[in-house]
Symmetry: D2
Subunit: 390 residues, 4 copies
């Protein structure tokens, strides 16, 4: 282990960024802004932060934005920024899910790169349409499945793909929360209201909000392709309009099996995202709430603790780490890594040079898979838990 | 917390015990013997420890048994001990599963109390027949689902039944091991050989060996009744004749849902039995490998660590604890509690007095439920993971 | 990892055991009795359990002892048992500390082996005298520093002595409790009363009760010899007559340094005995409350979890383990190991054969060192924390 | 728990920041820059990043600085920036310790606010002189004892000061690392070279580098004033010129006692800063490597886990938290909090308004105490571990 600093390399001009959503009272907008600043590759210069021009300007003032670049709608922002010489080069979309599709489309079609929160869209039809738009656009689409930015997740993926676990057999993933144990949506909590409204959130509740994160993470690390699933979704809280607990069994191509549990009614869990992957030669375990630790057991040997920037961690983790092992990096740094990967990809595109092959970020295709996963869960559950193909 | 000793109360004569199985090379026989000694309620005086009289005598010599009471078969032991004035009052059956039925029957029919290892039998037919025999016998039948003897499991059950968690919603239980990650049965390891032989072990492999423990524990703590399940069982190791990994989704009467995972191919897991129970008012978490700790979260309050004989633990835990909090009791003590509960029940029966209502042990009915669970898992898996009633 | 049973080997006749102390309301007496039964090498047949013949008989009745062998004093027991042909071969002394010396002397001088609770005596003079008696006696003296019986402590010692840590540099040891945070001795709690009474306990309070355990454990694992120390002892609870918190800095021969903290006023600690040992090549960490785990870091490599009977554990641990890894053994099993080692030593002595060199138990010399440690702490503290030689 | 966003309030213009030190190969400079960006209160516009103008410009180019504002020395920067209308308002000093004094003086005397890395200076004389300068200056001095920025440390301090632990009795603090287990300074590792050079680092090695952090943290949370100490410092690695391991016993005003251990030769420790505080009514435990968790035990009740932005956490923690509980904030966020507190203080000073009384940051006085602590440790150790007043 060393605590030497890295030479940071010549730092080009910051990328001009806009934001859709993320006004007062939002949660994820602030996260995106902090994440975009940590590695200093972006500069926020415009926003359609709220649903009216007035609110948007108020929110923009808090962020020090030029009032002329605080817009009342994403359509207006897309149009006007595209027309400016110093217009935004990329946009972060941090609205409720049902807005993702139209907003992303508006920017992609104008050649503005899109960094979009997950899930991709609120339904599979939109997702597939957005996929077509993105593939045809002259702009990049980055989905912020932020957990893929954790260094030890990169380490885990690298070990799996490098064969250190042997042929994979079992994937256990879960994401448990407790904040919807009671009917928070009835007492007006803004996050609870939209996240339990199928019009805004999509047919999946916990499944769409956090199950999709768990599924993405399992896919990212394991490299496995889901073939079919059986799901049992419940709304335990009376009057809730979407699922708040989901149990899923999964079959992957090649024969590996998995279980996924997502819940928002499990008291004692804050953001308990946990992944365990087992193969013929070894096993890995990781927990989001203590993300700098990765447990690796080569079969027949003692369990080992691999730490970020510590002994046992390799290049895949080191290239997305900032500080010495033992000094915890957290959620915001992992999120920042998505932004930094996005910056690398955007700059390569802008300069027409090949992107460093190590650059990794979730794409629109990953987003479609996530929405398809949710749709399959809902379908299976409606069919009384029958197996459905994905 | 106190470290005062308990007054142990007048200690009656030790109960004369025999043992079927548990000769040289066995694992669970030695566990039963240590467990039977810890609280000093039993005295081992006879055995049909091995499959021949000669081997049985050799094993008996190691245990200091009278050679005249080392028998070549359980039938002989049942007959001869029943005829002695100082014959055994109880017998421990610690053979491979397929022998449980006939052995238990032989002793029960002679009025000798039976303490039998789990699972009850190797198939459901035997299980139901044994249930009838046990119900008709003038002797008790105790099944050593030993994990129910852990003090913090008693505490958890007491809290659930007392309503501290509110209506239960979700039960997550798992039992993961790694010792069958490779084909240990091919290299002659005695435990691996019989535990992967469907003739001896039953149709369930991991499901029968450890899944049944997980299911029993979940049932014991939650008090819920299983209604139906969907299971996906696999034999990941080439040539293995029984399942070594099981994924199960469960539906309980009253609407609670559960997931159960059992695996013997999960590198990094020794005996990782974990139970989590969530209700409308709170959640509980417990792990067998650190069994003196129980985590309790009343919804909206900080998570609390309840320790054996520590603050927050109640009478249900204290009556089966031996030493102060912070001095770990382990697997053998939990196992000993089953023996101690058995002794209390046997003595009550012998003296024709009512048994202390706090005395709790797994019965033949629990055993039938366990075997039915395994049978349902196997049936569901054969039907490609379809839901089946239990 | 395997779950095969061990062949237990031919089991000779059980050793006849007496007990001094351990009557109703005692704590440690019951622990000794359970420990003596687990591996079945002893049979309790006599006792001077309480301070009067009547109470002793009452306590003896609870244990099923022959009333004729329940004595009113250890002197009487020593005399009468020594005169019987079937008299006790060994005696467990489990009284308050101030009785240890006279009781041990009475049995040793009659050739009866002594298994004595710690600390050796309540003052250094007695300790040295007992040492002389023991060295001159035709009987063994075993001190129950029970923590040395934990398998992972044996493993740690073996690794240190085998050079896996390189030259030792730093030893951090602590034993924290909280049960004397308030003045429990004023409300009559029996354990609190005698343990805070310098007449019965000795000049050291926390130092003598648990500091001596910590010191012994550090010495046992490190193999280091203490040269000098500086201690700062406090009685934080008003009116307390002995220390309830001790801070100690230690210098060992050869240049290693250490810190020892013992406290009975640290809320949130039950029996938090922790040992950490660091050398030029690696480090070890162990905690009594989770005793089946040993953490080993070879410098520059990932931290490894060595588990009892798991991968990475060697013979030194395996020979004192009973059950598979992942099935926790606890405090009573570690205590039982002291009894089992004692049995091996006693039988070797009885049969005039050499004892297996692997047999290890704390001796009267270790006991003298422990009492000298306490005396030095008290002396240093009286000298305002000055360094004193040991 | 809620995941609602906070309204961030009107955001004034960013404060213009310069930096001394932090060029290529440095570690802590990058940390300061990331920390200064997270909450967006500062804009880096100038630097004397390296020891020559050329290197400084090269480092500045990497950061996108105007070459005209990349200086060859801090003197030049102080002079020229003070003369500019748009000159820096604050400066971060991130050089090796021996430079802190002169650099801080140069800026303070020109009314430029100073944010300085710890320890304050490399010797006590400089520290006291800097204290006088700072007290006399028309500018603020903020010392980046960054661990005081962790939300759960704020929570702990708030609980202690609020009396939830009762009168404090015992403080155990430690900071263990392993990166100097071998003679890294001989192989040219830049961080190891200067940190083990008494000319640059000061007389204390581990004591000055990390012991001072541990001492500051203990003081910050406990509110106690150190009266005297006894220290035993060692240089275990051959040829090392400063201590790499320190053992310290501490006496506080009012009667509380403490132990402090700092080590850079403890294999298996990365940045293991741990604090435990015990009072008459309860205890607290915290570890830097898992900083979102705080363990609180009210005496006689179960231990409770207080989490950042979770149940049980109060306003003191919430005002320095950014994201929901269960999403870990780390080292950079805690560091950012120091910058954000500094910004609040600087803006209040600039606008001549009173600063929010909740604003908390380490001052020059804390810095003097830290250097005095190191000096006392060195003095005590030279006097063979005698007690010395602080």
């Amino acid at each position: 282990m060393t605590i030497e600093g890295k030479n940071e390399g010549a730092r080009p001009r910051r990328i001009r960024l806009g934001m859709v959503g993320g006004g007062q009272g939002a949660f994820i907008g602030g996260v995106h802004r902090m994440a975009s600043r940590i590695d200093d590759h972006f500069e926020l210069v415009a926003g359609a932060l709220s649903s009216t021009a007035e609110k948007s300007k108020a929110s923009g003032a808090e962020l020090g934005l030029d009032p002329d670049r605080c817009y009342g709608s994403f359509e207006e922002m897309a149009e006007k920024e595209a027309a400016r010489e110093d217009g935004i080069e990329a946009v972060s979309i941090v609205t409720p899910n049902h807005v993702h599709f139209a907003a992303a489309k508006a920017f992609l079609e104008r050649g503005i790169h899109v960094i979009c929160d997950k899930p991709l869209t609120s339904n599979l039809e939109d997702a597939k349409q957005l996929q077509r738009v993105a593939h045809g656009a002259d702009a990049l689409f980055i989905l912020t499945h932020n957990y893929t930015g954790y260094p030890m997740i990169r380490q885990a993926r690298d070990m799996v793909l490098g064969g250190e676990l042997g042929t994979l057999r079992v994937v256990q993933v879960e994401y448990a929360q407790d904040w919807l144990t009671e009917a928070a949506e009835l007492t007006g909590a803004k996050q609870a209201v939209w996240r339990t409204d199928p019009e805004k959130s999509g047919a999946g509740g916990a499944t769409g909000d956090i199950g999709t994160h768990a599924y993405n993470l399992a896919s990212f690390v394991s490299g496995l392709t889901l073939k079919s699933l059986a799901a049992d979704l419940d709304s335990f809280v009376e009057g809730r309009r979407v699922d708040d607990n989901g149990h899923v069994m999964m079959r992957f191509e090649g024969g590996a099996k998995g279980m996924l549990w997502c819940s928002q009614v499990a008291p004692g869990n804050e953001n308990a995202l946990k992944l365990r992957v087992y193969g013929a030669k070894g096993g890995l375990e990781w927990e989001q709430e203590n993300p700098n630790h990765l447990w690796f057991t080569p079969f027949g040997e003692p369990k080992r603790l691999i730490t970020r920037n510590g002994a046992g961690a390799g290049h895949a983790a080191a290239r997305v780490s900032r500080i010495p092992g033992g000094h915890p990096e957290g959620y915001l740094e992992a999120f920042a890594t998505i932004y930094t990967e996005a910056a690398a990809a955007i700059r390569a595109r802008q300069s027409d040079t090949p992107v460093d092959p190590a650059v990794t970020y979730p794409t629109v295709d990953d987003g479609v898979k996530g929405v398809a996963f949710v749709a399959a869960c809902v379908e299976s559950s409606k069919k009384d838990g029958a197996w459905v193909s994905v």
